[in-house]
Symmetry: C2
């Protein structure tokens, strides 16, 4: 590093604060990374406290994901109690575990106490059971009970994602009493947008949004301004289903209730946004034949997770090859068939994947159901015929000219039409059937669709050619 660089770094490092840590393309600024790296190497705790500890949790998360793996633990250690554990909810699971496993349980316990319960659960749920118990044992009683209760709910349930801190008042309080309570109470959640109305057994009676309270005169009773909670979320409900309710009804937060209708927590839109993102990501990844891998996974982990899907595809590819082998004699006579046959199969695969993509997405967003399935099947069949005719004509002309053989053009045109229709039908029927039998159409549709378009493509093209030779 040259002198000028060092001087420049020193100058920037003495600034009040670095305001935007991101470059224009959304990645973390290289100069900021260099400064942080230098500060870690110099064990410059002052700089790290001033410029790193004050970052927003998601910025700190991005920083942790971007710096060198060996710098991560050093940074966390240097920050000590100034390290905001919430940042760990923003990083890949592998990085989270790597950091948490190296932190002393006592330090985690101290930091967990500062977190909202939903963030605390997010970090605790991935830990080994013994570590989790040791950390919980060091927490104050109420908090321990609250976190245990959330951790008792099934993985990916609303109960796991909920926040157990909330404001609840009895229905007979007035607006004035409620405001006075909030002015005096120390133990309120860090932020909230509504308060809950409960009876003495914690049974949920209604909800009042904060703006409603602010618009209402002091002497008005809460029960007269509360609204019914149309969409209380059972704690056992899967987080995806809860997210769908949030989306459908534009909720900002929702009461989470136990099996007796008692209020146990509140689910907020920021957690739901994360769930929506995860779901969309999962569907996207599954359709491409990859599981829930992360960018920080090693080559070995990545390879292992991708092998099963490739293996299934190998089997269907061999199946398709065995269809070709039925026609070896025909290919021996006309080698042009071997040249052209991948076009028929490939175009079918592309058309099938178009239909399948639309179908899988429409099923995921619940836009496709029994009421319109038949209409969409008919439409896709028409599209298949139409595009089959267009591309049949195109490839028929091209192949006829290429091999100076109009018969070959006619054969490939017919095969293309047949395969595009098969692709359209497979592209919609297979996801629909998989969904019907309870399988995830995003995971397995493409294997079946490709198998059908390959087999149909080879069979139609080589079969028609064989019939023609027999004439």
């Amino acid at each position: 590093m040259s002198d000028i660089d060092e001087q420049e770094l020193a100058r920037i490092r003495n600034e009040e604060a670095i305001h935007d840590i991101y470059a224009d393309d959304g990645s973390v600024r290289a100069d900021f990374l260099a400064m942080v790296g230098a500060a870690i190497a110099d064990r410059d705790v002052l700089f790290l406290r001033q410029h790193v500890a004050r970052l927003h949790e998601s910025e700190l998360g991005d920083l942790l994901e971007t710096i060198q793996p060996d710098q991560r633990l050093a940074l966390v250690r240097l920050l000590g109690d100034d390290f905001d554990l919430t940042a760990l909810t923003e990083v890949d699971e592998a990085i989270r575990l790597e950091i948490v496993e190296q932190m002393p349980n006592a330090q985690i316990a101290a930091a967990i106490g500062e977190l909202d319960s939903d963030d605390a659960v997010y970090i605790l749920e991935d830990l080994a059971k013994e570590d989790r118990e040791e950390i919980l044992a060091q927490l104050p009683f109420t908090e321990r009970v609250r976190l245990r209760r959330a951790l008792d709910y099934p993985e990916s349930s609303a109960g796991r994602r909920m926040q157990t801190e909330f404001v609840a008042v009895p229905p007979f309080w007035t607006v004035g009493q409620t405001i006075d309570y909030m002015r005096e109470e120390e133990e309120l959640p860090e932020s909230f947008t509504q308060i809950f109305v409960i009876d003495p057994t914690f049974k949920l009676l209604g909800i009042v949004d904060l703006d409603r309270i602010l618009r209402t005169k002091r002497q008005v009773r809460i029960e007269s301004i509360m609204r019914e909670t149309n969409y209380p979320i059972p704690a056992e409900m899967d987080q995806e289903e809860a997210a769908q309710i949030f989306e459908q009804y534009d909720l900002l937060s929702a009461a989470v209730i136990d099996e007796n209708g008692r209020l146990v927590g509140v689910l907020t839109i920021d957690d739901v946004v994360d769930v929506i993102q995860e779901e969309a990501e999962e569907d996207f990844m599954r359709l491409g034949g990859v599981g829930d891998e992360e960018l920080s996974d090693t080559a070995l982990e990545t390879s292992r997770s991708r092998v099963p899907w490739l293996l299934v595809n190998l089997l269907t590819a061999i199946l398709a090859a065995s269809v070709i082998s039925l026609f070896e004699a025909t290919i021996e006579q006309i080698v042009a068939l071997a040249v052209l046959m991948p076009i028929v199969a490939g175009m079918g695969g592309n058309a099938g994947s178009q239909t399948m993509t639309v179908t899988v997405r429409a099923l995921a967003t619940r836009n496709l159901d029994i009421h319109n399935a038949w209409r969409v099947v008919r439409r896709e069949a028409s599209v298949g015929l139409l595009n089959g005719a267009i591309f049949g004509l195109l490839i028929g002309l091209a192949a006829g000219l290429w091999f100076a053989d109009p018969n070959l053009g006619g054969i490939i045109a017919t095969a293309m039409l047949i395969n595009m229709l098969a692709a359209a039908l497979a592209g919609i029927m297979i996801p629909l059937l998989l969904d019907k039998v309870g399988a995830d159409p995003a995971v397995s549709s493409s294997v079946f669709v490709t198998a059908i378009t390959d087999i149909t493509g080879f069979f139609a093209f080589l079969g028609l050619a064989t019939l023609w030779l027999l004439q």
Copy 2:
């Protein structure tokens, strides 16, 4: 319809309200559809008012999407002023236009007046210019100005999605004054979670969350509890970029400012959730080679939108075929090559699409950037070599046994290894390059990746076989 059904329907139709219009699979209940259909046929306005008008806007939207096209307009007409125009923000564009174009402009104007400005803009922006002007002319002055201003911002900008109703107070007010103002003011937004602090020129000074106001004593001045707005959204900003800010900083709402820093509106998380959904959907659809088609599009529209992608794929398929044609002489000697070659190309395509899926997703979520690109490229290359070795060995053994020819097994094994490595490199380098030059990697990656895996697969396999024959 049998007598019993009619009696049953009559009984249900007289119930107070139908509580859940959805069946377990998330589709609209068939019996509810039957009832609505019967009520439309009977022009039973009373039933429709009681059971349909009271639906949540998103439920009414689902109902409109599910009933027969000819029932839609009839339903809207029968409901008259009881039809909640907000439901139109929840349906496909084609259905929205179909309904709005048939409604008299005067009725739309009356209904638009009742909507939040963001919903009003959402409906107005798709209309023909003359209709829009006619409707705007019938609105009260302030509202007309507000909507015009939002409509003046570019399509898909934050200014289009923002709500122009908000609560703003001067910094020198006390908490007490602010609460009194909210208790007396009639013209407050329907719901809000924060209030804005502005100077006399509407320049944004800060934000106060409602829970902060409720916790604070009456005599405290607003300026002492307001927080800086770290993330004000310029009205011209693209809605995607705004959504990313919401996600990153877990915002519930954000101030939208004009080029002079003046507060012009507020963007809320419910609109942002819709944007996030749309974005995820777009990436998903693009990777599958389909544009922004909708389930309600006709076969002709669908065909037209899918042809370009298929056409590009046809060209690359012909390119790959021309590679095969270089080796016609070799294939004539060993027809088994024609049987096996699609396996090599196809497996490369699958492996390439796995890598590409991960890369496109990581680019979209900004997890992949210059800081880790090189590491991920190295990882993918290792995965390609590893999986290439595994599947090369498998297919080598299988092909060697199938055709009783160990040399053929060795050739296909080597070709598979080469193609899997090429697939890995293409799967990551192509999206990275497309992103670098400013193209959308989701749209065009798969065409290039498939072209490379096809060409490499055919060339490596047939080329190696030719070399072996020449020995």
